[in-house]
Every structure is written in structure tokens, then in C-alpha cells.
């Protein structure tokens, strides 16, 4: 039986969402396939790594159980022995426990995980892992970079601009002048964060500066985008490597003046002004409040899917990702908005509707990861040379 380590948590604002994705959407279905031994690895908010079977229990995180575990449990060590092996001191006579890992399923949303940092470690360890690689993750998690890359491939976005946060105080006039070229309403966003953190919808100039400062507080780069008139917002989950497979085009149901902030997305089941804590699961959230498939004409549907697949391939995604797009229902234009290399809960609710059960989804992702790794093994990246002899 293959051993798959699921790594979740992390030093990220989306730490808690990551726990739900890992436990509900990944670990459980992997175990239900009866093909894998699943090892949970939790990265605490301070960056410490823990490996323990108890980490699979959601109730641990809902009270003080996790703090108790972290107080008592030894830190996990990693051995890069041409692959990846986990180590930790055992509870009996100091004996170490170890486990060779055959594959890793990164389940960390946001910074230091989804952005490619974790993938870098896994590439160094030469262990197969699920999802996007280092470069695709880094591009996808950077809204500025993803727009630059897709724009160069001829994929349309709404008019936008960006700046470094440190420039806000030093070059404010230039920044505001560039923003003046855009039409209101605008969206001001930190370039690297997900789950709508630090995002402001700005309807008039008097509110702009505050929004820029909020975003700059969270990130070293800020992006400002022009909103779409006659907006239909859609999202498309995609899996696959060389031949990406789309799920169903999904349409969050919202009014044009609304967007989902973190609170609404994960705490209120996608309902504005809803009760707090209405949804326990981050995999529900806004996903419990959308139209699947999107209610658009076949022509527009196919166009959006085509744009989504094009974005996926251009960014170099593998495994799984989700492409967000904005449609102007009047002009029928489809604009690329964002790409998410690790959809919350794997967007399994959409895959279910598309006819792929959770156990089948994770099985396919494992196969894609194995296939990509096998292809990489065929490449020569280290070979002998006479270079050193000249010194």
C-alpha cells in the first residue's frame, strides 16, 4: 500500500480552511479508497511540524486539543534520502518512529504552502506530490504575475495596474495617476493573498486611499482591477496534466455590488449578513450558494470553459486548480480574474455534480502526480562534466 502524507495548516491566514480541506476532502476519501496509508502532517501557525494519527480528528482543532497535542508531541523531522522519510522520537524509551513517504498531498492554502514554497521542498526531496508544481503555484498565487503571464498569451483581463507597497508612500502621485486611467468601481487586492483577505471594492475616488492602505498592510504588492459591468462571475475547477479535464462551470449567486469576503465565504455559508459561524466547514461556505452548471448560454459556457482551460495550460498547472473568470453579459466577453492552485475542499461539491465522487477525484489526482513524477525521472538534470578540472 502506498503511503501518502497530507501536509496542512501552515503559517497562513488560511490555516483553518486548510485543516478542513485536508481532513474532509482529502484524508477521508484517500482512506476510503482502501489503497493508501495516509499520514497526517500538521504545520502549526509557528511553523513547527507535527505527525500524529490523532491529527485526523476534527474535534482536536475545535477546542484546546491541538494546543495540548503540540505541547506534548515531539516535532517531526524530515530525512531527504533520495526520497522523503518522516522521523519523530517515539513515546517509548526514546525510540524513533519513522515512515517512508511515497507521495505527498499538499493541502496548505495561502502563503508558505500553496505559493510553491512547500513544492520546492518536495522537488528537492524528489518525492511525487499532488497538484501544481513550483513555478505554476508561484505564478498562480501572485495576481500580478498571473495576469502578466496570461496577458502575454493573449488571454484577456479587465484593465488593471499594480504597485509595490513601499511605493505607496514614496510614489503616491504616480500610482494614483495610473489608477485614474481605470473606471470605477475598482477592486483593490493584496497580490498574494487568497480567501478575499484585504480586498476592498471601491466605488468612488474618496474611498480609494483607504483601500490601498489596507491592501498594502497585507502584502508587498498591490493590484488594482477595474470591475466588470453586467457581471456574471464564474469559476471552473480543472484537473489533469497535459490534457486538462474541466468540471462544471459554476456561478456564485450574488448581486453585482457584493463579493464574498472571508467572513461570508467561510463563516456564513455564502450568505451576506448571515449568522456567524453558520457553516462549520470551509468546504461549504460560498460553495453552498452557487449555480452548477452556470446559467449562461451554451456559447458563453463553452467560451468560458475554453478560456479557463487556456489559463490552466498557460500558467503550467498540473494536478488540480480552479480558474475564476468574469463575464460581461452584455458584450459577452470573458475575462480571466484569478487562478487558485489548491481549491478549498478541492471543490469536490462541483466534481460530485460533474459525476466524479470524492474517492475517484483523489485517486485521479494521485495518478496525475505519479505520471508527472515518472516523466520527470526520465529527464537528465545532473550529469558528469570536466568543469572542475580547469580549477
Amino acid at each position: 500500500m502506498k503511503t501518502i502524507a497530507v501536509i496542512f495548516g501552515g503559517r497562513s491566514a488560511e490555516h483553518d480552511v486548510s485543516i478542513i480541506t485536508a481532513l474532509a476532502a482529502i484524508i477521508k476519501p484517500l482512506e476510503l479508497t482502501k489503497k493508501f496509508q495516509v499520514e497526517p502532517i500538521y504545520i502549526a501557525k509557528d511553523g513547527a511540524w507535527y505527525w500524529d494519527e490523532k491529527l485526523k480528528d476534527i474535534s482536536l482543532y475545535q477546542g484546546s486539543g491541538i494546543d495540548e497535542l503540540m505541547r506534548k508531541a515531539p516535532k517531526t523531522q524530515l530525512l531527504f534520502d533520495g526520497s522523503l522519510t518522516l522521523f519523530k522520537p517515539g513515546s517509548f524509551a526514546g525510540r524513533k518512529q519513522s515512515k517512508k513517504i511515497d507521495m505527498v498531498f499538499p493541502a496548505m492554502h495561502g502563503t508558505h504552502g500553496e505559493d510553491g514554497e512547500l513544492m520546492g521542498i518536495l522537488e528537492m526531496a524528489n518525492v511525487p506530490y499532488i497538484g501544481c508544481g513550483v513555478a505554476a503555484s508561484a505564478v498562480a498565487m501572485d495576481k500580478v504575475l498571473s495576469k502578466q503571464v496570461t496577458q502575454s498569451a493573449g488571454i484577456a483581463s479587465t484593465p488593471w495596474t499594480w504597485f509595490y507597497s513601499h511605493d505607496l508612500s514614496q510614489n503616491q502621485t504616480r500610482i494614483l495617476k495610473e489608477i485614474d486611467a481605470l473606471k470605477y468601481p475598482l477592486f483593490v487586492k493584496p497580490a498574494h493573498l487568497g480567501s478575499s483577505i484585504g480586498i476592498t471594492r471601491v466605488t468612488e475616488k474618496s474611498l480609494l486611499m483607504n483601500a490601498l492602505e489596507v491592501a498594502a498592510h497585507y502584502d508587498d504588492r498591490v493590484i488594482v482591477e477595474q470591475a466588470v459591468d453586467n457581471l456574471i462571475e464564474v469559476t471552473l475547477p480543472i484537473i489533469g496534466n497535459e490534457v486538462p479535464v474541466p468540471a462544471l462551470l459554476e456561478q456564485p449567486i450574488l448581486h453585482s455590488e457584493d463579493f464574498f469576503d472571508f467572513e461570508t465565504k467561510y463563516m456564513q455559508g455564502g450568505k451576506k449578513n448571515g449568522k456567524k459561524g453558520g457553516q462549520k466547514s470551509g468546504t461549504q461556505g460560498a460553495q453552498g450558494y452557487s449555480q452548477i452548471p452556470a446559467n449562461v448560454s451554451k456559447e458563453l459556457y463553452d467560451k468560458a470553459v475554453s478560456v479557463g482551460l487556456n489559463v490552466y495550460k498557460t500558467v503550467g498547472c498540473t494536478g488540480i486548480a480552479r480558474v475564476d473568470m468574469l463575464i460581461d453579459s452584455k458584450t459577452q466577453e470573458v475575462f480571466f480574474n484569478e487562478i487558485n492552485p489548491l481549491p478549498g475542499g478541492l471543490y469536490s461539491h462541483n466534481w460530485n455534480k460533474a459525476g466524479i465522487a470524492n474517492v475517484d477525484l483523489v485517486s485521479r489526482l494521485v495518478d496525475y502526480a505519479e505520471s508527472r513524477w515518472q516523466d520527470k525521472q526520465k529527464l537528465d538534470t545532473a550529469f558528469s562534466t570536466n568543469f572542475l578540472k580547469q580549477f
Binding site: 476510503l32 460530485n352 466524479i356 465522487a357 474517492v359
Partner: protein, 478 residues
């Protein structure tokens, strides 16, 4: 080793009472289960002990008894060692180590005594009193007997007939003599129709029930190897069930001829019902879906357009019989159609529910081969992206166990679901043999932990899937 540890575990007394409770305080099945158990710590898997008054009293009794025996044993051990008396030491040791076995068997003693001295005489009195009540009652009495489908038929008849008549029916699956007696006590005497379900308990029961309840009409719902631990053969079970025809008369006997095994018992004067015709009524245009079944009936100028919430082609015969009996008893076309429209699936009997866009047909109370065949036909009939069939097999098949399960395997192979999930137990090997003989082409999954499967369906299914769950094994069959 596991057995030894579980015998001396603090939970052992509770496990014994749970085993008794699960076998409905019947000594024989309880003791059979006890002697085939290899690990008492895993007995309470599907459910826990329900702390009723009886269960709590038994638990207290057995716990005290065990403690007393151990204390006495230790006292003898001490005395034996102290005084150098080997017999005392041996006695003491025996008392200490045998308490799990002693009390597992002593537990049935109060039950046996209670049954003999209190319950049996009380029941006899009640049954005699009920015989007089039934003899006096002016209403039409319909007896429902068979290996399966009795409760469904009874409920169906009640739902349809009460659209125009005052109907009383025995409750739930209370179908033995004492249940009939309690039912009789509650009658007011003004009911137009009584519907009484006859359970297949012991040989001769049907004749005894008929003597007490004196039915006017007999319905035989089907014959299959079920509860065959009480009968030596299917033939013997059939003979018993068809003794109902002698009690009501051949021309008042209605037999489900869709059930293969009834065919050899059907006599020319019996009325048969099936999915094609009943008593001169022809059935046509059967449509089956996730929300119900519809069909048309016609006889001469009479025509009925029937829509039921029950699922499956196999429901057509019983529904048609209910319609015909309702017609004979004087209900109007409107009343009959309204009555049939009110029939809905009973819990765990072909009960549909939706999950993530998939359909689950919960037929976990189905416990006979004809029912399983009907389920497979339904699964094949319904539109699906992927068809999944789930079963542990059947219990209480007696001498027919191997043959029935090979037959089941072949039936599954013929229906060819995309995926088959078998809950691992003692009959799995026979089903696999049948699958092989039938050349099954789909995916086979053997599930070691049924609860794991049933409680995680949302991870296993996707939109467009149709999954049929047929039968379920409680802990006492493991």
C-alpha cells in the same frame, strides 16, 4: 488471546446482555451466537445496549453474580492456600476463571423460567379471549401470509382500503399469536375490514393463527428461503404457508404468482396476482422512476389510472391486488386511485433518497432472494450514470444458504451493475462463486467494515449514481 482478554473485560457483562437483547431474549440464538464469538470486545459494532428496564435489571443481576462468584473464588483460594487444602484451592481457582462462562449461561435461566411460568400461561389466556372477539366481529378479515412482503402488503391494503372503509391492521411487524390477541383487545367492533399479518415463526403457526383469527380472505405474498432455520426445507415452509388456503377456501385465496416458488403450490381455484393481471383485470403501461411507479388497469369498461410512491415493477402486482380488493369491497374509482396515490415507501423498504445528486435506494430490510432479484431488476430499469449494488447477502437461509447465495451471485452477474460492494461475512464466498459462474464483468469491492461504507456514502457517490442497498446484517449474524 483476544478472546481471553475480552472474556475478562469490564464490558463483558454489558456485551452479554446486548447479545440477549439483540436476539429478543431467545435462548437458542443467543447461545449459538455466544459460542461462535471469537472476540466479545467487537460484538457491539452496529449498535449499543439499549438500557430498557429488563436489560438494566439483567445487567445488574449478572454483574453482581460475577462479582460474587469471583469474591467467593478468591476467598476459597485464600483459605485453601492458608490451610494447605488443595481441593479448596482448586475450587477457588475454578470459580475465578469460569465466571464468564457460568454467567453467560445462567443468564438464560430467569428468562426460561419466566417464559414457562408466567408468559406462556398469560399468552394462552389472551389468545383464547381473542378467538371469541374475532368470531363475533362482523367485518371482513384479510389474513396476509408469506415468506416476505407481508408487512408491505398489509400497509398497502390498509392505505388503499381506508379511503372508503374503516380499517384496522396489526401494527408494524407484530405478527405472532399474542400480537393478534393484543390487536383484538383494541378493536371497537365497528371496523369494516381487519388486516392481520401472519408471521412465519414455527411450523403449524399459520393454521393456529387462522383458527384464532378466522379470516375471510387470504393473501399469500410469496415464498422464498427465509427464516429457514425453523423449517427443514422450502417445501415444508410452503406447505405451512399454503395451509391458509384451507382456512379461507380456494376462491378466497390470492397468491403472488410473480414469486417463482409459489407456482408448485397454486391450485386451479386460487386467484393469482402479478404484474400482468389479477382477477380479470389487465395491467399495462408500467412506468418506473425514482419517485414512484405508475400503471393502468382495465377490465371491460372499467379503467384505473394508478400512480404510487412505491418503487419497482415488483410492486405492481400487490398494488393491483389492493385495487381489485378495494373494488370488490365497494370503493369507487376515485377512492381507489386516491388510495394508491397515498402509498409511499416504508422505511428501509425500497426507500429512495437523494445525496449529492445520486440516488440511494435503501432496501436494507429486504431479506429474501425474490426481493433481491426485484431490486436488481429495478436497478437495471432506472437511468443512471453508474449503477452500484450493495449487499451482505441473506440471513436465515438454513440448508439453502449456499444454493441461494450462488443464485444471488448469478443474478447480480446477469444484472451486471457497474460496481458491486459485498459486505464480508460467511456467505461472501458463495456469492463470489455465483458471480464467477455468471461471468460478472463489473468492479467488485469486498468491504470489511460495513459501517465505514454506509456512513461515508457522500464520499463514494457522485451525481448520476444509483445505488441499491439490499439487506443488512445486524451484529448477531456476524
Amino acid at each position: 488471546m483476544r478472546l481471553l482478554i475480552s472474556l475478562f473485560s469490564p464490558n463483558y457483562p454489558q456485551t452479554l446482555v446486548y447479545m440477549l437483547q439483540s436476539t429478543e431474549y431467545e435462548a437458542k440464538p443467543y447461545l449459538k451466537w455466544f459460542w461462535r464469538t471469537k472476540d466479545f470486545s467487537s460484538v457491539m459494532y452496529r449498535r449499543k445496549l439499549e438500557k430498557t428496564r429488563v436489560a438494566s435489571s439483567l445487567l445488574l443481576l449478572i454483574s453482581l453474580g460475577m462479582v460474587l462468584q469471583v469474591v467467593l473464588g478468591l476467598a476459597l483460594l485464600y483459605l485453601g492456600n492458608h490451610r494447605g487444602r488443595l481441593p479448596l484451592t482448586l475450587c477457588g481457582t475454578l470459580l475465578v476463571i469460569t465466571y464468564p462462562f457460568v454467567w453467560a449461561h445462567l443468564l438464560v435461566l430467569p428468562l426460561a423460567l419466566g417464559r414457562l411460568l408466567v408468559i406462556k400461561p398469560l399468552h394462552k389466556k389472551l389468545i383464547n379471549e381473542s378467538k371469541a372477539i374475532f368470531a363475533k366481529h362482523p367485518g371482513t378479515t384479510i389474513a396476509v401470509a408469506g415468506s416476505y412482503g407481508k408487512t408491505s402488503m398489509k400497509e398497502l391494503l390498509k392505505t388503499v382500503l381506508e379511503q372508503g372503509k374503516n380499517v384496522a391492521a396489526t401494527p408494524a411487524n407484530k405478527n405472532v399469536a399474542v400480537s393478534h390477541a393484543y390487536f383484538a383487545k383494541k378493536l371497537k367492533g365497528d371496523e369494516d375490514v381487519l388486516i392481520i399479518e401472519y408471521g412465519e415463526g414455527n411450523p403449524g403457526d399459520v393454521v393456529r393463527f387462522a383458527n384464532t383469527t378466522q379470516p375471510n380472505i387470504g393473501v399469500i405474498t410469496g415464498l422464498a428461503p427465509a427464516h429457514l432455520d425453523h423449517y427443514p426445507s422450502l417445501q415444508a415452509a410452503g406447505k405451512d404457508i399454503f395451509s391458509l388456503a384451507k382456512a379461507v377456501g380456494a376462491n378466497k385465496t390470492f397468491v403472488n404468482s410473480d414469486s417463482e416458488a409459489t407456482k408448485s403450490f397454486i391450485k386451479p381455484d386460487y386467484h393469482t396476482y402479478n404484474s400482468e393481471k389479477v382477477m380479470g383485470w389487465k395491467i399495462s403501461d408500467i412506468k418506473v422512476g425514482f419517485t414512484g411507479t405508475s400503471f393502468e388497469m382495465s377490465k371491460g369498461k372499467q379503467h384505473l389510472n394508478l400512480k404510487s410512491g412505491l418503487l419497482g415493477r415488483h410492486q405492481v402486482g400487490p398494488l393491483a391486488l389492493a385495487a381489485v380488493l378495494a373494488d370488490q369491497l365497494g370503493l369507487s374509482k376515485t377512492q381507489i386511485e386516491a388510495g394508491v396515490a397515498k402509498t409511499v415507501p416504508f422505511e428501509y423498504r425500497m426507500q429512495p433518497r437523494s445525496l449529492n445528486g445520486a440516488w440511494i435506494l435503501d432496501d436494507t430490510y429486504n431479506g429474501n432472494i425474490d426481493g433481491l432479484r426485484a431490486g436488481l431488476v429495478l436497478l437495471k430499469d432506472l437511468p443512471a450514470r453508474r449503477r452500484i449494488y450493495v449487499t451482505p447477502g441473506l440471513v436465515d437461509q438454513g440448508v439453502e444458504t449456499e444454493a441461494v447465495h450462488i443464485e444471488l451471485g448469478k443474478a447480480i452477474a446477469a444484472a451486471n451493475p457497474d460496481k458491486l460492494v459485498l459486505m464480508l461475512n460467511s456467505v461472501t464466498k458463495y456469492i463470489e462463486a455465483g458471480l464467477k459462474q455468471g461471468n460478472y464483468q463489473g468492479e467488485l469491492q469486498i468491504e470489511h467494515y460495513p459501517l465505514d461504507f454506509y456512513t461515508n456514502l457522500e464520499h463514494l457517490l457522485a451525481a448520476g449514481d444509483v445505488v441499491m442497498l439490499q439487506n443488512d446484517w445486524t451484529d448477531n449474524y456476524n
